[in-house]
Every structure is written in C-alpha cells, then in structure tokens.
Symmetry: C2
C-alpha cells in the first residue's frame, strides 16, 4: 500500500502545502496561499524602516487555505486517499518569534493587542533590535565568549533575544503580557497538535541553536545570569522558554481531532519537530556528508553537515553550527550570501532601468565571453556580507572599468562576484576539514541559468548538481514527516533512508572546465585580496598590482 | 582706428579661423572646416588600432577653407576691413609631427608616398610607437634621468621621438626620405611665411619642450649621443631639427605674398610662433600667476604658469613643465585627466544604453543631493591616469554600491570622481609652491552644467570662473597675433596687456559652499587612500575603514 506525507513550508510571503508519495518523493498535490495581511503578509511601520511583522493568525489560516486544496489535487492521483497520510512536517522562516500567553495563544489574537505590531510575529528580517544585538554581542564577548563562537562572532538583530530585548525596551506592555515567545517553526506544530502548555512543547534545535544560542555544551539556552544582564525579566523568561529542544526526526505531537477534522486528515498522525525552511530545504535537496546544498534566490543559503561523532571546531565567520539542525547525527552548518539574485535584479532595475527580460538579453550577450575577458572584478557586497565577514556594513565594488566596458560585461562580472563569494565560503569551511565534493543547487536561477551554473562550476571547481524538486523545503518537511511516521507506519527509520528514496537530481550536471578554472583561480586570488583588504581589519598591502593583473588576464583571454 | 587679428586653431577634426577685435577681444568672424580625409580627418589602419594619421594637405587646405569666409563674416561689422588685420596666431594639436623634405614640403604630398600613412602627419593620439616610448623611457632613466624629470618620469608614445623611432623601425623608406620632421604647430607658420629652409624656421618651445625633451638646461634637444642610442640616424637628425626654438610672442615669419593674395590678407603681417591648442587656450582664457585654466572636454587639460625668475622644481607626475610654453617669462605647467566627459558619455551610452538627453535627466535627479548622500566613491581612471600617476594601465573603480544605488547616483559619483582627480592634481602642484587661488574653466561642460561646476568648486575649494569666450584656443592665437604685431602697429607690447584687453569671464562664478566642502574633504581623503593604494606601488594599509566611513558620511548627509 502507498503512503503519503504532508510537507508544510512557511515562507516570507506565502505558505505552501505539498503532498508527497513516500515511496519516491513524487509530488501529488500542492497549494500555495499568500498571507492576507499587509504587503504579502509583511506589516511595516512607516515611522521605522527596520520593523517587519507578520500576523500569526495568517499562519494558522494558511493551514485551512492550503491543506484541503492540496489534498483535493492529490485525490486525482490513482490510489491516493487522505487516510494514507502518515505524517506532517513543518518548516518556516526564522528567527520569527511570536509572543504568546500561558496557553500558547498569540497575543496578537487578543482584542487588547489588536493592531499593535509588537504583539505580532517578529519577522526574520525585522531589524528593529539592532542596538540590542550590538549590546548582546558586546555582553557575550565580555562574559560568555563561547556563545558567540558558534554563530560567527556576532549576535544578529534578526535573532530571538535581540527581538525580545527590543520589545522589552519598546513596548513593556507586550513584553509583560507575553508568557513566553515561540519560534514560528515551533508554533505551527504546537497549533496542529493542540498543545496549550509550554511543558508539552518540543521545540526545534534548528531555531534554538541557530538563533537563540542554545547548545548542549552549556546546558541549553544562555544561562539566566547572562540573560539577566539584558534584563532581570529576560533572565526569568529563560525558564518559560521551551525546555525540550530536539531534532526534526522527533515527534512534536500528534494531529489534534479538531485540526484533523478541519483539514480532512487522519487524527493522531505524527507531526515532526519544526525547523527552518533552508535547513529542511537542504534535506529535501539530498544533503549528506561531502555535499553542500546551495539554495540560490535573492540571497543564498548554504547548508552542509558534518558527523557529530567527534567535535567540530568553530569555523570563524560561519554564522551557525548546530548539532542536529539539519540532520540528526550531524552538525548542521549554515552559511550564506546576503544578496545574489538581488544583485542582478538591482543592476537590471536600478542601474540599467530595464525590464525583467533584460536579464536574458544580457546573459545572451556575454554567455560566450571567456573568463577574464572583460577585465572586470567585483565584490558581491551590495547587501553586506553574511559569511565569512558577518558585516552588514560592507558595500559593493566594481573595478577594471574602461571606456569600453558594457552593461552586459558588468552583469557577468556581478555573477562572477557572487561565485567568488561562494568560493570564499566553501574554502573557509574546507579549511576546517569539512570537505565538499559536490554542490547541490536549488532555486530558479539554478534551474534556468546555464551560464550562471557553469561559472559556479568553474569557480567552485566542483560538479554542480541541480535538485530534482523545485520545492525542496516542502519536500524536506515531507521527508521528516515520513521519518516521524516510522517504518512500521509506511515511513522510514532514518532520514538517510527517506532521502535516498524521496530525493532526486536533474539530469544536467555542470562540471568544471579546466581552462576556465585556471583563469578564475587567478581572478579569485585578486577577489580574495580585495575581500580581505576591504573586509578585514589589519590586512596591509597595496593594491598596485590588481588593475594591471586584470589587464594581463584580459589580454590573454582575448588572444 | 580699430585693429584686428586672426587666430587659427587646428583641432583634431577641424580647423577654426577667428577674426578678433584687438581692442576688446570681440569676435567678428569665425569659420570652421572639417578635414576632408578619412573619418573627420583621421586616417586609420585596419591592421593596427594604434595608428592615427592626418593629411598635411588637409591642414594647408584648411587655410583656404576658413580664412576667407571668416573675413567675409567680419566684413559685415562696421569699420572692419581685412587691411586692418595686423597679425596671425596659430595653435594646433600635438605632438603631431610631419615628415618633410629639405624644402619643408610634406612627404605625403609626393606621388611616391601617395597613400602611405607613414608619410602623413602622425596625429597626437597615434600610439604605434608604444614600444619605442618604453625603450626611450628606459634609456633616459639609465643615461639621462634629467630628461624625464620635466615630463613626469615617462616618455609617451604620443610624443615626437617615439613616432620618429617607430617610423625608423616600421618604414625605413619614409624615415630615410624625411629630411626632418616638423611639428604641426611649426608647419603652419612656415607654410604661411613661405619658409622652405629649416634654418629659417622658428619653432615653438611649446611642442619642443613638452614633446621633444627640449630644454635650455641641457642645450636644447636631447644630445645626439643619447639620440644615437635610439639609432645613429636619429642622432644625426638632431642637427636637422629646427634650431631656433622660442615662445609664441615671437615672430615666426611674415605672411608671404602668395598666401596674402590667396587669403585676402595684407602682405607681410607677422605670424606668431606656433603652440599647442591647450596652451594658447589657456592664454585666451586669461591664465596668469595664481590661476589655473581647465579645459574640460572629453578629457581635461590643466594649464598654469609660474614666474621663471627663479628655477621651478620638478613636480613628480606632472607631465610637462616648460619655460615659456604658455606665456613668455613663465614656466608653463601642463597637467590633465585622460577622461572626464568621456566617462559620462561612456556611462550613459555603454552602461545605461541611453541617448544623449539622459545626461540632463540624470543630472536633474541628483542635482539637489547632498555630498556623500549616495555612499558612493569612484576612481576616475576609465582611460588611465595622465597626471599624477602617468599610468595608462589603471582602470575605473566604483564602490559603496548597495541594492538601492541608482543610475543617477552613479552618474553623480563619476562627476565627483573627476573632481577628486582634479583636486589631486591641484594639490600636487601646490605642494611645489605654485599657488592657485582661482580656476578658470573652458569647454561645453563648464558652460552648461552648473551641478558639475558647483561640485568642482566644493571639491577644489576655489572660485570657479567660466571663460567668456567659447573658443579660447583661437582667441589665444589671436592674442599672440596682437603681441607679435606690437604696440606700434595697433597691437600690444606684452601678453599680459593683450590678455587684459581681450579676455573676459562670464558673470556666473561658482564659489565653494563650506558645508559641502567639509564633506568632500572627507570623501577626498578616502579617494586619496584608494588612489595611492591602487595607483602607487608600496602603499601599505588595509581599506577596512573605507566602506564604513562612506556609510557614516551618508548617514550624516541624510540626517
């Protein structure tokens, strides 16, 4: 008999429900719903550009809007029936914490907080806690340096305690009314399971480890003495955070009768512990030892795993290393570039003032160019640098411009810059003995832009594989659902087994072209020189040779 | 009785004849003729992109095509008559040497050299002697370092001996047939005066000093022992170069009866010794002690003078310091930027793919922006750096790019970059005690772009004056014509007297705005850091602070 699972993927602007065949990963039904509130689900504050909130009611409504239609679509497939659904997995954005009351109900749903954005979900890209983040970094440096070592040396304004502390400063009423704060990824499983007691919550190690400095090495969350340095009330809050924190192959709860009825699913099927979209996306793309998954979109998220059988050293500048955050039994390593597709979109829209179709035109003009031919070199920092410099106050740079430089050459140089940035991350991770022999790519650019992928293959010097699924996040959730269901129920005993059955790759593989690799190796050397000079304090040398070497490389390229 | 002079201005693509009232500089008649040969007078070689030649016959024909119509136009003014013309001045491009026979007739005019571009005029922008230029620089460094000190340390491929030596290598027949080589600026006065004997030629110190390493300190041209290192035949050529080399307030000869008849001018009026267009343009713009004349076009030429009553030290990186090359009694100092207008044109045409009108649109979008507001900083090296780095192998750089950076902001940053480049030149010259209290600007950009001029005023920290004449080169030639005519004939005894009467300024003066100056001073500091790091070997420091300081400056700008 066939079995199916549901993967729920909560993105920044919409939620997706995927119904998957456990045997082979085939996608039988999918439904997407854009959040109703604000601008595609994002609520902003005209007086503060750093505010980005979301409605937890939208998150709940998303279940009703996507599960039934996805099931209806799946029902057209032979042999499918909702009764054969054996589990649910959930991924969400994050850190997107939600202030809730003692019954785990969002404060935003209460009449007294209607319209108060501080009572809503604090979206991952909310930066209103910038000052608090800096102060947390400084406090940790002084008192608990070990906390920072796992998150690249800087605590971000996007993360849990920056947001909670900012709420403490900005809206004491909301802070005081919040019994606790739940990450979005923990909130949805609790809702589905009908959990109303914090003691019953099984929270994800992925959000806790990557955003809340949770680590078994120091007994979980930062100790309350440290948190009391933020505010005594935050020190006290520690005991009201979810105390059970675990991996996504564990059961967060079982589907409540009420939600089973409302969604048309079997009562009591297991719900996997939640995780972040990128991490389960890596699972859905087939991440494993020796591979790196790159989710390439407006920005890029890189995910790798390393066995947890021996301790993994801290990797400087890599923003997150968390035991079990991607796959149980492995350290999850998360890195990324703050802008990739966003850079090309910016160039086309703001610099060229072009339409979307200009992307294709520009690519066509330079797809046959040889590496180095333009004489250009760029730094991909238009939105700062997330890894390995963890510095939002870095900006983009282009050099090698001449009176003959064309729009399309700059476009290609920007693509190359993102490839060099990707290589710099890979090199740093490999320096710490996490070896990468294959790169698995996900996202629209990976599927649609052969020039981009070939440049990446040539710069990274590894085969570039494309994920078979276009919705790896939801697929990763569905894989976790199959694991929590277990072998006896028709699922799998381990994530590896589930991935082996349910993940696939496209036929096209981009392999490095040695001649291109050689030129890009030279250009990458120059990129690193600029990367360190502009990005690292205390790198002392002139750049006298940079422009000349580019001209030499260009001359050789066009010979 | 009124008196008039003629200023002949030979540019790259056309010649201009101006008829001027000696009393006040009023322009009574003007005629322009585009050279007939090739592409607007420029003859190229499809097999060698560095070749740019011109027809000396075009230069001669230009007299017939412009003097009579300019006189005809002037004749409509009350009181004018060609009989009241008291002198002729000539400026040309350079170094544009012309191989001639013993009677000073261009080889190009001889049937046996018809169509042989090597027998034509070697236009200033001909770079076919690149290799020879490098070898001359190396030889001079080794044997006669003093020769290089006055020309910025590098002998250019654009200059006389590079071209002659390249002809020696590339076309021995032409080299052997050339009795001597005349600079364009010396050729035209000799033609008008009917001079057919090299002993009668009075050559300009401006071409000789700036392009042929001519200097009284070492007895004129480079000694024949040095020139024999190039080739014994070039050593021997030295004696056949013009031996009388002098300033443009001296008479090169008097108008021959034949040319007087042909052009409709009085026989025997004096012809001033020729000089380069930019230098006489500076004279026409009113250059004097304490002022700098900027001729702003596709590139920029900066001219200054310093009294020759005491020796002027060499100024590192300033490409030409020649006693008398602009005004008699003063050292002429020439500097410049290899691209200014060309950078804006490149950006609009190649990066924005816009039409000419886009210049105005982009200016309009950012003219009210505050200095530093964009967070951008650029190096103006899209065509290399002429002064003070004298390095063609430098390229353009833009940094501070973010996902919000606009086309118009980049446009403004490019203007600012050229202003910083201009400031760097000014600072270097002032370090050597040539003080500048006023900048006189010429050219279309100066007349038409108030934003550009205000930025320059704010960056350079001096009042920016605009020349009253739009044709300062021809006016400068007409001024020299009035000086060679002399007071008795209705002209002037000195250049200063003539300038005082004949030069004018527009009413609009751009004065520095202190608040803007302060911000630009900071940005200029960052510009200098990048300038030295990328342009000077051995400048050792990181650039870690550059991007952050730009963000700080931007934040303050928009506060």
């Amino acid at each position: 008999m066939s079995h199916y699972t549901i993967g729920l993927d909560y993105g920044s602007n919409s939620v997706r429900c995927l119904v998957v065949d456990v045997a082979n990963g085939r996608e039988l039904g999918v439904a997407v719903w854009t959040y109703a509130s604000g601008d595609a689900g994002v609520l902003t504050d005209p007086t503060n550009p750093h505010v980005a909130r979301q409605s937890p009611m939208d998150f709940v409504e998303g279940l009703r809007q996507t599960v039934p239609p996805a099931l209806a679509q799946a029902a057209q497939a032979t042999g499918f029936s909702p009764a054969k659904i054996i589990g649910i997995g959930v991924d969400t954005t994050g850190s997107t914490p939600i202030p809730v009351d003692a019954a785990l109900q969002p404060l935003a749903a209460k009449p007294e907080f209607a319209g108060n954005l501080n009572a809503y979900a604090w979206m991952w890209k909310d930066h209103s806690g910038m000052d608090e983040a800096e102060r947390i970094t400084a406090l940790a440096k002084q008192h608990r340096p070990q906390y920072l070592a796992k998150c690249g040396g800087t605590y971000s304004s996007e993360w849990l305690f920056s947001k909670i502390w900012h709420c403490y400063h900005a809206d004491r009423t909301v802070f005081d009314a919040a019994f606790t704060w739940l990450e979005f990824a923990d909130f949805i499983p609790a809702v589905l399971a009908g959990i109303t007691d914090i003691a019953q919550v099984k929270a994800g190690i992925c959000p806790a480890g990557h955003k809340a400095m949770y680590c078994a090495d120091w007994g979980g969350y930062p100790d309350s003495e440290f948190l009391s340095l933020l505010a005594p009330e935050i020190g006290a809050l520690r005991a009201r955070l979810p105390q059970t924190v675990t991996t996504s192959d564990q059961v967060a709860g079982t589907l409540s009768p009420a939600w089973a009825a409302e969604l048309g699913l079997p009562v009591g099927i297991p719900i996997a512990v939640g995780a972040f979209d990128a991490h389960l996306g890596a699972v859905g793309a087939g991440v494993g030892q020796g591979s790196m998954v790159k989710i390439i979109g407006t920005s890029t998220c890189d995910c790798l795993v390393a066995p947890n059988t021996e301790p993994l050293p801290d990797i400087p500048g890599v923003c997150g290393i968390v035991n079990g955050s991607i796959l149980p039994g492995y350290y999850g390593i998360e890195a990324g570039q703050s802008a990739v597709g966003d850079i090309f979109n910016w160039f086309v829209k703001h610099v060229c003032r072009g339409e979307g179709k200009l992307h294709g035109q520009l690519r066509a003009e330079v797809e046959k160019d040889k590496p180095g031919q333009s004489g250009l070199l760029a730094l991909d920092w238009e939105n700062g640098n997330r890894t390995i410099l963890t510095d939002a106050r870095l900006t983009g740079l282009i050099l090698g411009l001449t009176l003959h430089t064309t729009q399309a050459q700059i476009y290609r140089a920007l693509i190359e810059a993102t490839a060099f940035g990707a290589r710099r991350i890979l090199d740093r991770i490999e320096e710490y003995d996490v070896k990468v022999t294959k790169v698995i790519n996900c996202g629209g650019i990976a599927e649609k832009d052969p020039m981009f992928m070939q440049i990446y293959a040539d710069v990274l010097g590894r085969p570039m594989v494309i994920s078979g699924s276009a919705q790896t996040c939801a697929l990763g959730s569905a894989i976790m659902a199959a694991v929590v269901a277990g072998k006896a129920a028709g699922g799998y005993a381990t994530c590896e087994e589930a991935q082996a059955a349910m993940c696939s790759y496209k036929d096209t593989v981009y392999t490095p072209i040695p001649a291109n690799q050689a030129v890009y190796q030279e250009l990458y050397g120059l990129y690193c020189e600029l990367h360190d000079s502009f990005g690292v304090r205390g790198t002392s040398f002139d750049h006298f040779a940079v422009m000349k070497q580019l001209l030499d490389i260009r001359r050789r390229a066009v010979q």
